[in-house]
C-alpha cells in the first residue's frame, strides 16, 4: 500500500517541533526578545500562500473575491517580514561585547 504524502508532511512537522525544541533551549536568555521578533518574521513565510492566492485569477479578473484576500495577506505578511527582520537586525546590532580599552 502506498503511503499518503500527508504522512511525510506530518513527519517533517513532528521532527521540526523537536528541532525547534532543542534549538530554542540553546538560545541565550538575553536574546529572547530578538528570538520573538525573528520567529515573527519567519512565520510570515505564510506569504507564499498569499502569493498563490493573489495570482489565482487571470488577466481579466485580477481582483476576484479570493485573490483580494491574497493581496491583503501579502500586505500583512510583508509588513511582518520587513518589520520583523529589520527590527531584529537593529536589536542585534546593539549587543556588543565589553571594549577592553575602556
Amino acid at each position: 500500500m502506498e503511503i499518503d504524502p500527508f504522512i511525510f508532511r506530518l513527519s517533517i512537522f513532528i521532527l521540526s517541533i523537536f528541532i525547534g525544541y532543542y534549538v530554542v533551549w540553546s538560545v541565550t536568555p538575553s536574546l529572547h526578545t530578538p528570538l520573538m521578533s525573528v520567529t515573527n518574521a519567519i512565520s510570515s513565510v505564510i506569504i507564499v500562500g498569499a502569493i498563490i492566492a493573489a495570482l489565482s485569477g487571470n488577466d481579466n479578473t485580477i481582483f476576484s473575491s479570493s485573490s483580494i484576500f491574497g493581496f491583503l495577506a501579502i500586505v500583512l505578511a510583508a509588513v511582518n517580514i520587513f518589520g520583523g527582520f529589520l527590527v531584529t537586525q537593529r536589536m542585534l546590532a546593539m549587543y556588543k561585547k565589553k571594549k577592553k580599552d575602556k
Binding site: 512537522f13 538575553s30 529572547h32 520567529t39 506569504i47 492566492a53 510583508a78 517580514i81
Partner: protein
C-alpha cells in the same frame, strides 16, 4: 519550475530558518543567523513566484502590494523605540494571525488555485487543515490585538473578569470543534464564516482576563499560536517551508511561555486556560499596617555607592516606563571610573516580554557580558555592597521564600536583601502588580528613594 525542485528549495529555506534561530545561541553568531533568515525568506518568495509562473498583470500588483507592506514594515522597524518592543511584537503577531485567516479564506473560496479540489468539494484533509489554520489564526489575531491594546495602555492592564468566564470559554472551544466537524461533513461556507467569527471571539475572551504583568506569558503564548496557525496553513498548501517554520515558531513560543511560567511559579495549564493574574488581587490589602521605612535622597544613595566596592543593579518594568536605561548607564560609567564593580541582575519575567530588560540595556550600550540571569548572579548578592533596584518590585520580594500564604510563594526571586545595603528606587510605597507588600521596603538595610527612576538616577550621577 518542477514541483520537486521547488519542494527542495522550500526545504532549503526551512533549513535556513532553523539556522536563523540557531544563530541566536550567542550574540556573536546572531547577526549571521538573521541573515540566514532573510536568505531563507528570499528563496521561499522567489520559488513561489517561479512555480506559479504567472507573470501577468497580477504579478505587478503582487509586487506593488509587497512594496506597500514592506515599506510600512521597514518604516515601523526603524522608528519604533526599544521600550515599545512588546507592543510591536504583539502587533506583528496579530498580522501573522490575520494573514493566516486570509489565506485560509482564499483557499476556501478558490480551492482550484491551490489544487485542493473545487468549491463545495474540497478534500477532507485540506478542509480540516484549513479550518485549524483559520481558527488558530483568528485566535492569534484577536488575542494579539487585545495584548497590544493592553501593552499600549489604550486598554486597562488590569484583568477583566466576569462570572462564568471559564464555562463560556469552554463552551466556545467545544463549539469550535463541533463547527469544524460539521464544516467537514457539509462543506458549508456559512459554517466556515461562523467558525472564523467564533475564533475571533474566543481569542478576545482568552486575553482580557490577563493582567499587565503577565504579558510575558501572553506574548510568548501568542507567538506559539502564530506558529501553529502557519503550520496549519502549511499543511493545506503542502508547503515544507511553512510546515517547518510553523513547527519551529510554535515550539519556540511554547518554550518561552514555559520559561516565563517557571519564572512566576505558575503552572503551564493555568496559563493555557487563561484567567490568571486575577486571583492575586484581593490578598495583602487587608493587612496594611504602617511599618517604618527609611527613605533617603540622591545624596545618600551616591554616598553609599561611592563607598561600595561592588554594586548589583536590578532593573524592572519601571525602568522601561521611565526610559531610565541611558541615565542608568551614565551612572554606572561614573561608578566604574571609581573602580566599583558593577553587574546587572535580570529576573526572567522582568519587563513585559522575554528578554525585555536585556534589549533596553543593550540599547543603552551596556556590554552583554555585564548582564546576568537570575541563576548566574543570585549567589553574588551576599557578597555585594549595594543592590540598586530600579523599577523592579515583586521579583525582589523575600516573601516568596518565607511566607507560604503569599500568592507569590515559591516564585524564584532575586536575593536582593542579602546585600549589605539596598537602594530601592520607586515612586511610592504602593504594592507591585501582584498586590502584595514587599517586605524588602521595611528591612533595616533598605533605603527607599522615592522619585522617578530616570530623575533619581541622574541626580545620583551628579552627586557621585
Amino acid at each position: 519550475m518542477s514541483a520537486n525542485l521547488s519542494a527542495i528549495l522550500y526545504l532549503i529555506s526551512g533549513v535556513l530558518f532553523i539556522l536563523a534561530l540557531r544563530g541566536l545561541s550567542s550574540p556573536e553568531t546572531s547577526r549571521q543567523g538573521n541573515l540566514f533568515g532573510i536568505i531563507g525568506m528570499l528563496i521561499a518568495v522567489t520559488v513561489t513566484f517561479l512555480s506559479v509562473g504567472n507573470f501577468t498583470t497580477g504579478f505587478i500588483y503582487v509586487l506593488i502590494f509587497l512594496a506597500i507592506g514592506g515599506s510600512i514594515g521597514a518604516f515601523i522597524a526603524y522608528k519604533i523605540p526599544m521600550t515599545a518592543m512588546p507592543e510591536l511584537v504583539a502587533g506583528f503577531h496579530s498580522l501573522v494571525g490575520l494573514a493566516a485567516v486570509f489565506v485560509a479564506i482564499s483557499a476556501f473560496i478558490n480551492p482550484d488555485a491551490f489544487g485542493l479540489g473545487t468549491p463545495g468539494n474540497i478534500k477532507l484533509a485540506s478542509l480540516i487543515e484549513m479550518a485549524i489554520g483559520a481558527a488558530v489564526g483568528a485566535i492569534t489575531f484577536s488575542g494579539s490585538v487585545i495584548a497590544f491594546l493592553k501593552l499600549q495602555g489604550i486598554m486597562s492592564g488590569s484583568p477583566i473578569t466576569f462570572k462564568g468566564q471559564h464555562a463560556l470559554n469552554a463552551l466556545i472551544l467545544i463549539s469550535i470543534v463541533v463547527l469544524t466537524f460539521y464544516l467537514c461533513s457539509t462543506q458549508s461556507s456559512n459554517l466556515f464564516w461562523i467558525l472564523i467569527a467564533v475564533s475571533f471571539i474566543i481569542g478576545f475572551l482568552i486575553i482580557i482576563p490577563i493582567g499587565g504583568a503577565d504579558m510575558p506569558v501572553v506574548i510568548s503564548m501568542l507567538n506559539s499560536y502564530s506558529g501553529w496557525a502557519a503550520a496549519g496553513i502549511g499543511f493545506t498548501l503542502e508547503n515544507t517551508a511553512l510546515i517547518i517554520t510553523g513547527a519551529l515558531v510554535g515550539s519556540s513560543g511554547a518554550i518561552l511561555s514555559y520559561i516565563m511560567c517557571k519564572g512566576m511559579n505558575r503552572s503551564f495549564f493555568n496559563v493555557i486556560l487563561g484567567g490568571f493574574g486575577a486571583t492575586d488581587q484581593s490578598t495583602g490589602k487587608s493587612k496594611k499596617e504602617q511599618r517604618p521605612v527609611k527613605s533617603g535622597n540622591a545624596d545618600d544613595a551616591a554616598f553609599l555607592m561611592k563607598n561600595a566596592s561592588s554594586v548589583i543593579i536590578v532593573p524592572g518594568y519601571g525602568m522601561a516606563v521611565a526610559q531610565a536605561q541611558h541615565a542608568l548607564r551614565e551612572m554606572v560609567d561614573t561608578l566604574k571610573k571609581n573602580d566599583i564593580k558593577v553587574s546587572y541582575a535580570i529576573h526572567p519575567v522582568a519587563g513585559r516580554m522575554p528578554g525585555h530588560m536585556n534589549v533596553l540595556l543593550a540599547e543603552a550600550n551596556v556590554p552583554y557580558d555585564e548582564v546576568f540571569e537570575l541563576e548566574e548572579i543570585n549567589n553574588d548578592f551576599a557578597n555585594a555592597d549595594v543592590a540598586f533596584v530600579i523599577g523592579a518590585n515583586d521579583v525582589t520580594n523575600p516573601v516568596a521564600k518565607t511566607d507560604p500564604q503569599s500568592p507569590i510563594y515559591g516564585m524564584p526571586v532575586l536575593d536582593v536583601e542579602k546585600c549589605k545595603s539596598v537602594l530601592f528606587v520607586k515612586r511610592s510605597l504602593s504594592p507591585g502588580y501582584a498586590g502584595i507588600d514587599n517586605d524588602l521596603f521595611y528591612k533595616e538595610n533598605t533605603l527607599m528613594l522615592f522619585a522617578d527612576a530616570k530623575k533619581m538616577t541622574e541626580d545620583i550621577t551628579k552627586n557621585l
